[in-house]
Amino acid sequence: MLRKQKLSAPEHKRDPAAHGGTLSMSHNNTRSFFNFSQLVLSAGNLKSPPVLKHSKITYFEVEILDVQSKKQICIVDKVPPSSTLLDVKHKFHKACPQWYPSRVGLQLERNGPYLKDSVNIQSLAVSSIITLYFTDLGQQVGWTTFFLTEYTGPLLIYLLFYIRLSTIYDQVESTKNFRHPVVHLACFCHCLHYIRHLLETLFVHKFSGGHTPLKNMIKGCAFYWGFTSWIAYYINHPRYTPPSFGHRQVSLAALGFLMCEAGNHFINVVLAHQNHSGSKACFPSPTYNPFTWLFLLVSCPNYTYEVGSWISFTVMTQTLPVGIFAFLMVIQMSLWAQKKHKLYLKKFYPEVRRKAAMIPIIF
């Protein structure tokens, strides 16, 4: 029997499962056996069985075109079907070393959305060649670097103004004038705010996105550093006028500031821990900590507390530039809160329905 089956040796080698064709046949039936074995093979699993050494995996080829000129930049070949877009980006980076993965934006069509790194290649494939359009997203910077730079600047700049550098303020006036305690308190609060931000960036926050264009960092830094210089100049000026309502105004505002700082911190901790352990994503719930009870009224209490901090700081120092800065922060935070709120409404509709975005009841 074995000898006779040697005639159908090629098929036999490819698929021992076709062993089922073990019938004694004569030369006349060889052909019908051949046909039969082909039938068996085609009717079986399309996926190659794991035992084989020469497995037939269809590799994909990814053709990468420039989005504006439509010219081909390179072809990434031998892409296994189980790989993700990130693997393709890494291979692309090897071929073209100047485009590192976080800088690469790939789209399926010229005006489509950028594809996420986690997308599976197989889900994109229509044929064995996939065409993607490439956009250079610009120099990228990690979120941690971004926030560290953005927050260290104001910390140091304010201190420069606090120590009253001779180049900024007139030295004679500086030494003569008595400094109201609120100036020292303001310096302490300001530093506390930014040190808290820095520590949270290092130890609490867990960043999901990965990277952001360098342009954003420059814009953010310019905004924060510029405004910090402006407000620090006035608060530490020899001719600074303390608040009109004196100690009462200062103490109440300072208390408000500290409470908002604490609240902001606890909210960030809750948000970070929630992501970490969340097997099933759900809207963060208030804990025994009273500062987190704001979650019952508002969907983005971290922005609420941030805005509260800055308003308290304005009242504490009674300085118009701080007020302008706080106003701009309110606008910025409102926009962010609104976006996040919309996202929450989509994901967690029942819980978030009756909540405001940032300010309880009002907005």
Binding site: Y234, I235, T241, T317, Q318, T319, P321
Partner: protein
């Protein structure tokens, strides 16, 4: 500085032209009617200013101190341009709100915060320089918009709009800069619009320094807008040539 003709920088593709199929949908019939009226009124207004200048020149025999003869219509119609920001915000004009706001505000700033506020510069010749530049530019620009809205744009107007700026824009910018420069000593002297420490709200503002910063800001902004307009000129006028040839 608000770009003699730069107002079209964002609408230079003929606003209601159809070069790009995926434009936002244009204004409805009511909005178009309103815009036509607005643009006609503005064209007429600037023509009044032009005529006023010519008449004053002929009457006086010299071109000095012509500002006083057209002071009121200039203020009225230049301030009226603020409505254009509203048009962009409402979406009836396909321009960027920020860009239009920037251009209109810089014009209004020069009209009110410099020329009106610092009375001593009103006799300067640089005022005439930018008023003439603005007048010619605005007449052409508003008639351009009017004709575009009515879909009967004569090539001459389009050509004028995209060509005359080459001379008028630098002329206007020079006039503006010289006027601000002339105003500086008077601002310093009178402490106009300036607050100094100490005060209850711990704020200070020095208008003199602010004006100097404004002057410096012309340096990066003017070339950008100018070359943008040149680029638009090449695009629009060469497109028209092709269009004509294909017909």
């Amino acid at each position: 500085m608000a770009a003699a003709g730069g107002g079209g920088g964002s609408r230079a593709d003929n606003g209601y032209g159809s070069q790009q199929p995926r434009r936002r949908k244009g204004p409805g019939a009511l909005a178009t009617a309103y815009l036509v009226i607005y643009n006609v009124v503005m064209t007429a207004g600037w023509l009044v200013i032009a005529v006023g200048l010519v008449r004053a020149y002929l009457a006086k025999g010299s071109y000095h101190s012509l500002y006083y003869s057209i002071e009121k219509p200039l203020k009225f119609f230049q301030t009226g341009a603020l409505l254009e920001i509203l048009h962009c915000a409402l979406g009836i004009v396909p321009s960027s709100v920020v860009l239009t706001a920037f251009q209109v505000m810089s014009r209004v700033f020069l009209t009110w915060a410099v020329t009106h506020s610092v009375k001593e510069v009103q006799t300067e010749d640089s005022v005439l320089l930018f008023v003439v530049a603005w007048t010619i530019t605005e007449i052409i620009r508003y008639s351009f918009y009017t004709f575009s809205l009515l879909n009967h744009l004569p090539y001459l107007i389009k050509w004028a709009r995209y060509t005359l700026f080459i001379v008028l824009y630098p002329m206007g910018v020079s006039g503006e800069l010289l006027t601000i420069y002339a105003a500086l000593p008077f601002v310093r002297q009178s402490g106009l619009y300036s607050i100094s420490l100490p005060n209850k709200y711990n704020f200070s503002f020095d208008y003199y320094t602010f004006l100097i910063l404004v002057m410096i800001s012309y340096i990066p902004i003017f070339p950008q807008l100018y070359f943008h307009m040149l680029h638009q000129r090449r695009k629009v006028l060469s497109h028209t040539e092709e269009h004509k040839k294909s017909e």
